[in-house]
């Protein structure tokens, strides 16, 4: 009964894909192994590193801790879907400009996470370091806290912060 594959329909980067998957297949494995979208990375596979971050209905989640079958009928966006008509997303551009990586393994997760982080900030979402009298600027403390779900073991954080700041300014124009 239970290791039978079942039909799963996923909408990824605007395209609908009909798959046959065992229910235990994670969204991460579905993307990488069944849809040939290896941009999303498997780091810890336990929700601790953020390398697998993707966007669902515009919100960032860890695709390793989700079953693909739970996300039918949702809008899933991966790093591959950020390019529009061959033009890089401002955050992708900024990561190149500011050397926001060394080995690059955490980078797709960092960028997807930052895309959603900017949207959360614009929507007025709080963070653990937001105080009632906090200035309305995205301080380094805010940036660090809001991006704490994405680890970079090369330690490229200075470049990552610079890239996000730069793109944030451009996206806010």
């Amino acid at each position: 009964m239970s290791n039978e594959r079942v039909p799963v329909s996923l909408k990824v980067n605007g395209s609908i894909h009909s798959l046959l998957l065992e229910p235990r297949v994670s969204l991460l494995d579905a993307l990488r192994d069944h849809l040939s979208l290896p941009g999303t990375k498997k780091g810890c596979n336990q929700g601790a590193c953020g390398a697998c971050t993707v966007l669902v209905d515009g919100e960032r989640i860890n695709s390793c801790l989700t079953l693909a079958i739970q996300y039918e009928d949702r809008e899933i966006q991966t790093i591959e879907g950020l390019v529009q008509n061959g033009v890089l997303h401002p955050l992708q551009d900024a990561f190149i400009t500011h050397d926001g990586f060394q080995c690059g393994y955490c980078t797709p997760g960092q960028i997807c996470s930052a895309v959603a982080m900017v949207a959360e900030w614009k929507a007025g979402a709080l963070s653990a370091v937001t105080k009632p009298d906090s200035p309305p600027q995205l301080s380094d403390d805010e940036l660090r806290e809001r991006m704490s779900g994405n680890l970079c073991r090369c330690g490229a954080y200075v470049g990552i912060r610079a890239a996000i700041r730069d793109a944030f300014a451009e996206m806010s124009r």
Binding site: S2, V6, S26, L65, L67, S113, S148
Partner: protein, 333 residues
């Protein structure tokens, strides 16, 4: 991960019926942030997952007298940002934002947060002895590396702690857990929802087979108090609490008229600090009174080989939070 059958529930009753089926090890699946991880480690091996994320339980509703009802499937990020919660219960918002990461808070649900299991590494490691994972097998934490373990309410069977931040705030705010099950609906005070380990550490909560959490109520009597959540951990973000304090208080005419205190990271359940509250109620808020309250709460604390620091840390954190809330200079406790 073991293979399992997956069913997406469309209404409460069918979810409850499925999970109540005899001889089937079923689990409700919500955000999955803990359950999927535990299944991958082989700690949880359900044969049936009942996905409850599409049940109509995702709203935050205003209730009479400034109360609020939080649907079981409201996600943590939405709850922390909800205008009514921010206005009436900022303690809850703060506690949630101090837990996990933005990604996890977008997935994790209200009910799932209540149901998450300990992060004791011996519980996670299937090669270790653990009475919670495998009753009767022993506890490798008691004689092992127990820096993150309990100082209050532990037993000779288990010294695990409850990992939640959100639940510490819910304990302080006198939440009520609304449950539906095979035999009907019931409402459980938050203090009675989670269990101490005793002789059956494998049982985390007082939920019965097939019972489904449908919502959590916050009474208006907890609204509008001055409050603070402080979490002490090994790094500045994205780590479980070594110790945390949720506090809400009202002072008038120089005396403490209302006080609710709960501790995280110290016990098998979110720990309502009843003894400390008792010494503070009606007292003049001073650093000495706060230290006395902390001592009263921590009198029964038991230190293991590596977690003795938590007793002093809990006292200092409690005194610091109470000092901040009352505007009293707490100094070094």
């Amino acid at each position: 991960m073991n293979a399992f059958e997956y069913v997406r529930a469309t209404d409460h009753q069918s979810a409850i019926d499925l999970a109540s089926r005899p001889a089937v090890s079923a689990r409700f699946l919500a955000g999955g942030t803990n359950l999927i991880d535990l299944m991958r480690e082989g700690v949880e091996q359900p044969r049936l997952l009942v996905d409850v994320t599409r049940l109509p339980l995702s709203t935050v509703e205003e209730r009479a007298n400034d109360g609020v009802r939080i649907g079981a499937m409201v996600r943590n990020s939405h709850l922390a940002s909800h205008p009514i919660v921010r206005e009436r219960f900022p303690l809850l918002s703060q506690a949630i934002l101090n837990g996990a990461s933005a990604q996890l808070r977008n997935m994790a649900t209200t009910a799932g947060n209540l149901m998450q299991r300990t992060r004791c590494y011996y519980f996670y490691d299937t090669a270790s002895h653990c009475n919670k994972r495998e009753p009767g097998s022993g506890c490798d934490a008691i004689g092992g590396f127990n820096r993150i373990h309990a100082i209050l309410g532990a037993s000779s069977q288990c010294i695990a702690t409850h990992p939640s931040d959100m639940c510490v705030a819910l304990a302080a705010l006198d939440a009520i857990v609304n449950i539906e099950g095979p035999t009907g609906a019931r409402a459980v005070p938050f203090a009675d929802f989670h269990r101490l380990p005793g002789e059956t550490p494998d049982v985390d909560t007082n939920l019965l087979r097939g019972e489904l959490i449908t919502s959590v109520d916050l009474p208006g009597s907890s609204a509008g108090l001055r409050s603070a959540y402080r979490k002490v951990r090994d790094r500045a973000s994205y780590a479980f609490a070594l110790v945390s304090v949720a506090a809400a208080m009202r002072i008038s005419d120089g005396r403490i008229r209302d006080v609710r205190l709960a501790l995280g990271g110290v016990a098998h359940k979110p720990w309502r600090a009843v003894a400390a509250e008792r010494t503070l109620l009606g007292a003049v808020p001073t650093p000495d009174a706060f230290a006395h309250a902390a001592d009263a709460e921590l009198a029964p604390a038991v230190a293991r080989a590596h977690n003795g620091f938590k007793i002093a840390l809990t006292k200092r954190t409690l005194v610091a939070v109470l000092s901040e809330l009352s505007g009293v200079d707490g100094g070094a406790a």
